[in-house]
């Protein structure tokens, strides 16, 4: 069956009519179609036959027939990998757990992961998480020993076998008192804390996940498994996650988890709180609206007398501990399991608990008058001015940071001046070297507190990023991260912040895996944010994320982040240059999709206002902001409004930027485009020459950027009829582009078409023909984008120079069968129709017009339908009004920018003798 979509849709319509009618109507319809298109009729018949056929699968209930395996998939004695199954221990939401023997005959727990996530995704995640999870060694954690994929591709985990009972059953069976229960809980908290120190969040803490073995040791299971199967990401919550709470066990999930917000160590604390509550009072926490009912009170009302007896012990301190752990606002809870663990110890030892104290921790306690400390402070200062330099920064922001780097250099020179006494200033080593040296000195100082060392490493890393020394930066960040656990009062978010920086650096080192880098960055930022990262840091990271998401085509995410960013900046640094940067990023995010452009315009205008206010009218920032407004207005189509902004941007830029700055080129280019849109007769050659000169200087004489600018220069020369210059420039562009991007790139094809136009005007048809593809050339199937129809355009250009009726027909046939880019193909077909008319090949013209008409939407605003109508009238009717023809010529010229062909055609038609 012909898989052409348009055809299939047609068949579907006919099928609907046929199935809905009586048998007589059906055969009448078939006969009619058979008359017009026998193949179609045959296909319709086949479909009708398929509709009538009995099909037990389609007509039945697949659930009944296939019995999706809800029972166990294996039996005792089965081998999975090197393990042999002994007996089923249980089934849970995530799959079956079997007792198995390894090759040495030792008991292990084998957990088959049943998830609908594709095996590829799951095994990839397992691979990534495995190393971290396997490092979790703690007496209260059931260790992950191994993982693998079975022969049929089922992922499994090998976990230390715990011969014991689930927590609540064990507590009941052992009949232990409140102190005993708290001691068990403390052990569990310690386990979670150990994992959190390794940056692992459990996410699915519940009593069923704690087994108590025969020696009374509680062991926590399923670490990080929830994360493997889960997919919470920053800004990615959907209605379903919202509805289902994004957690595998909603009852134990923290409120923010249920809302689909990012998970943090505080979320684990919540779950621990629920478990503790249940352990003590045998019920889950009860709320009255937002307020927690005091656990001691709940105990008093229990039906079980042994629970009631506990109420007195619970009153007071344990109530307070539970209340803090179960706060709905994560910021009010214990920030991590460690602090909850400490609290429980305090209770056990009869110490006063700190449940009322605030949870603020500080990163570095400054040590007075210590040289290491003062270097740390100095570098800390520098680091904060250098800021969070992300790899995806737009040149605008990076430029400002680069200015700061100069400041850094001189600061360091001052700082280290007394290290190298007597050395003349211009013999001082570079910033990087100074830093390395200074850092090594400081690190070697054994008295240095880990906090100060951390601060140094981070500063070094950031400056290495600024210098684009990615591998070195990665080493520094990793070293910093390794130090983090040593710092007992580190702020919770620092770990995630370092992860974010590592994600950024990793993308530079592995540019092929872009998407993964963005995801990693996003989740690290989310984590840090959940753990209390400050606004300042968040602002920088959000800007980075927006740029990355726009690059990855995630418009929705980018816009949501832009909104957040603006709110943050308005709160943190309103009216500052950071707000300008933020607004610029918002413009980028909002320009991406059509319907959001009004907001983009609003943001761009505001950025310009701010820039003028902060920097004055004659500043590069203001020029750039002005250009942004012009750009947004141009995309919107309001050229008249765009022009003054663009003119202003250009004139300021010429004065404010150094002579050969790439930004200046960009601004001038924008001006050239807008001028042409505003007045097609404008002469933009001087502008393009300026642009070209800058790009040659910055990127190289034969670079892609320069060649592309050269091609545009050629078009401006064509517009002003300087054909021999145009031909020269175009030919140079053609050869450079062919070498830089190859013969299938749209830029190359464009350049060829400009060259052909210029050469034709010069009468150098032979040279033009040499550049054009052969009549029957076809673009390869993989080429689907703009290259495709540009290629065909060049074939048409050949047919213009060397008419060939057969080839013309064939080309039209090929185009009629194209399923890509309908509007571009339509435009091309109209052009070919005009050419066919000129060559008196009226049948071909009609065919081309048909091909065009099927692709022009009824509400198309680009006047294609008008041109089509005019051309049809000419083909089928005897006389065409000259005024109409002139109008058509102008439309064609304006639309295609190729006034010469259109002019020639129309002139021939206009001035040829009419019958």
């Amino acid at each position: 069956m012909n898989r052409d979509l348009a055809r299939m849709r047609r068949l579907d319509e006919l099928l609907d009519v046929a199935l809905d009618g009586s048998p007589e109507e059906r055969s009448a319809l078939l006969k009619t179609i058979d008359g017009e298109d026998p193949t179609l009729a045959l296909e319709l018949k086949q479909l009708l036959a398929a509709a009538e056929k009995d099909d037990p699968l389609l007509d039945g209930k697949p659930w009944a027939r296939l019995e999706p395996q809800l029972g166990t998939s294996h039996a005792a004695g089965d081998a999975i990998g090197p393990y042999r199954l002994q007996r089923l221990l249980g089934t849970g939401g995530m799959g079956e757990v079997w007792l198995a023997h390894n090759e040495a005959g030792i008991d292990v727990a084998l957990k088959l992961i049943r998830s609908h996530l594709s095996q590829a995704v799951l095994s990839e995640r397992l691979r990534r998480e495995r190393d971290i999870l396997m490092r979790l060694k703690h007496p209260n954690i059931a260790r992950l020993l191994d993982s693998g994929l079975s022969v049929v591709g089922e992922p499994y985990l090998i976990i230390e076998y715990v011969d014991g009972q689930p927590l609540l059953d064990a507590a009941h069976a052992a009949g232990i008192d409140v102190r005993g229960r708290v001691r068990w809980m403390h052990a569990i908290c310690e386990a979670v804390a150990a994992a959190q120190a390794q940056l692992v969040i459990h996410r699915d803490i519940k009593p069923a996940n704690v087994l108590v073995d025969r020696t009374g040791l509680p062991k926590l299971l399923d670490f990080g498994i929830a994360k493997l199967l889960d997919s919470s990401g920053f800004g990615g919550s959907t209605e379903l996650t919202h509805a289902l709470g994004g957690a595998l066990t909603p009852a134990y999930a923290a409120p923010e988890q249920l809302r689909g917000e990012p998970v943090s160590t505080a979320s684990d604390v919540y779950a621990l709180g629920v478990v503790l509550h249940e352990l003590l009072v045998q019920q889950r926490p009860q709320r009255d609206g937002e307020n927690l009912l005091a656990p001691s009170r709940v105990a008093l009302r229990a039906s079980d007398p042994s629970v009631r007896q506990r109420a007195r012990e619970l009153r007071g301190d344990l109530d307070a501990i539970l209340e803090r752990a179960l706060q709905t606002d994560p910021a009010q809870r214990y920030p991590n399991a460690q602090s909850l663990a400490e609290e429980l110890i305090a209770w056990l030892e009869g110490q006063p608990v700190r449940a009322r104290e605030g949870a603020a921790y500080r990163l570095v306690k400054l040590i007075a008058r210590n040289r290491v400390a003062s270097i740390a402070i100095a570098l800390g200062l520098i680091a904060s001015t250098v800021g969070a330099i992300g790899a995806w920064q737009q040149s605008h922001i990076a430029r400002r940071e680069a200015q700061r780097a100069a400041y850094v250099q001189s600061f360091l020179e001052d700082l280290f001046a007394n290290e190298l006494p007597g050395a003349p200033r211009d013999e001082l080593p570079s910033t990087a070297e100074l830093l390395e040296r200074g850092t090594q000195q400081a690190l070697a100082d054994l008295d240095a507190e880990p906090g100060a060392r951390l601060s140094l490493l981070l500063s070094l890393a950031r400056i290495q990023v600024g210098q684009r020394q990615w591998a070195a930066a990665k080493r520094s960040f990793e070293a910093a991260r390794a130090l983090l656990p040593e710092i007992t009062d580190a702020e919770a978010w620092r770990g995630a912040a370092i992860d974010a920086d590592l994600a950024t650096v990793q993308t530079q080192l592995e540019p092929g895996d872009h998407m993964r880098g963005v995801d990693a960055l996003q989740s690290a930022v989310a984590q840090a944010r959940a753990q209390g990262a400050p606004d300042d840091w968040l602002i920088g990271k959000l800007m980075e994320l927006i740029a990355a998401n726009v690059d990855s085509n995630r418009g929705d995410t980018a816009r949501a982040q832009a909104d957040e960013l603006l709110v943050l900046v308005a709160r943190f640094a309103p009216g500052s240059d950071r707000e300008i940067s933020a607004l610029t990023q918002a413009v980028v995010a909002y320009s991406h999709d059509q319907i959001f452009r009004p907001q983009a315009e609003a943001h761009a205008r505001r950025a310009l206002e701010l820039a003028s206010a902060l920097f004055g009218e004659e500043h590069a920032e203001t020029a750039y902001a002005s250009m942004r407004v012009a750009g947004v207005l141009r995309i919107k189509g309001d050229i008249a409004a765009a022009l003054p902004f663009s003119e202003r941007a250009a004139s300021v830029a010429r004065r404010a930027y150094p002579a050969e700055h790439p930004q200046l080129a960009r601004i001038l280019e924008e001006l050239a485009r807008i001028r042409i849109r505003s007045d097609p007769n404008a002469d933009t050659t001087a502008l393009w020459r300026e642009v070209l000169a800058i790009r040659e200087h910055v990127y190289g004489l034969h670079s892609f950027a320069a060649a592309r600018s050269r091609a545009f220069l050629a078009t401006s020369l064509i517009r002003t009829q300087r054909y021999s210059e145009a031909a020269a420039e175009a030919l140079r562009a053609v050869s450079d582009l062919k070498r830089e991007v190859g013969p299938m790139h749209p830029a190359y094809l464009d350049a060829v078409s400009y060259a052909v136009t210029a050469l034709t005007e010069e009468g150098r048809s032979a040279e033009a023909l040499a550049l054009l593809p052969a009549y029957d050339a076809h673009p390869p199937k993989e080429i689907a984008g703009p290259s495709r129809w540009r290629f065909f355009e060049l074939v048409a250009a050949r047919l213009r120079l060397e008419p060939n009726a057969v080839a013309l027909q064939r080309l039209i046939g090929v185009l009629a069968a194209e399923s890509h880019a309908p509007r571009d193909v339509a435009s091309l077909c109209l052009s070919i129709a005009a050419m066919a008319i000129e060559q008196q090949a009226f049948d071909s013209a009609r065919a081309a017009l048909d091909a065009a008409n099927t692709r022009i939407a009824k509400d198309d605003s680009t006047k294609l339908s008008e041109i089509a109508a005019l051309l049809s009238a000419f083909v089928d009717g005897p006389k065409v009004n000259r005024a109409d023809l002139r109008a058509a010529r102008d439309i064609v010229a304006a639309r295609r920018g190729d006034r010469h062909y259109a002019v020639r055609l129309a002139d021939n038609i206009l001035y040829a003798p009419l019958e």
């Binding site: 849709r9 509709a51 809800l70 089934t91 995530m94 609908h116 996530l117 289902l244 009852a251």
Partner: protein, 169 residues
């Protein structure tokens, strides 16, 4: 609403719930009776609404998502069966069991859904609801926001297309 636009990973919790419930429902079923999938989805829906009393869950939307989840479960199992069958080394047994054949065909049908959606999106949606999820004509009409007659016509056509595009082995 387009059935193909949801990130399948967000269905994870729903699928887990459905499986768990289906398992316990299956145990309670008298032998020979088939699982009433609509009732299953309904139970999950009710459970959700109880636990998430603060947030109203849109019933229609939920059922649509459940249809997707059911499809995922079925296809996952079908693939597993096919893979296991392909991996079996018993060379004497050349005749695959009917369920394995059906499993392969099911995977085939699933892959054809995209083509169906290209022809007309509702065709694929009706297949998801009527076939994969096992909803009745009325339930399907409600979820998709059309009348029953339209569902019937769509199903007839979808069936014809599926028969033609996937064929029998």
């Amino acid at each position: 609403m387009s059935f193909f636009e949801t990130d399948p990973e967000t269905l994870a919790p729903l699928i887990t719930e459905l499986r768990a419930l289906a398992r316990s429902a299956r145990r309670r079923l008298p032998h020979g009776e088939t699982l009433a999938t609509t009732a299953l989805v309904n139970e999950v829906y009710l459970k959700l609404s109880r636990e998430r009393s603060a947030v109203a869950v849109d019933r229609r939307h939920f059922f649509a998502l459940a249809a997707r989840a059911m499809r995922e479960i079925l296809i996952d199992d079908a693939r597993r069966r096919s893979a296991r069958h392909a991996a079996s080394t018993n060379e004497d047994d050349n005749i695959p069991l009917a369920p394995e054949l059906d499993a392969e065909r099911l995977v085939d049908i699933d892959q054809t859904l995209k083509a169906l959606a290209d022809i007309q999106p509702r065709l694929a949606e009706v297949v998801m609801c009527r076939f994969f999820a096992g909803y009745t004509e009325e339930e399907t009409a409600d979820i998709l926001g059309v009348d029953v007659r339209t569902v019937q016509r769509d199903w007839k056509r979808a069936r014809a297309w599926l028969g033609e595009l996937t064929g029998t082995r």
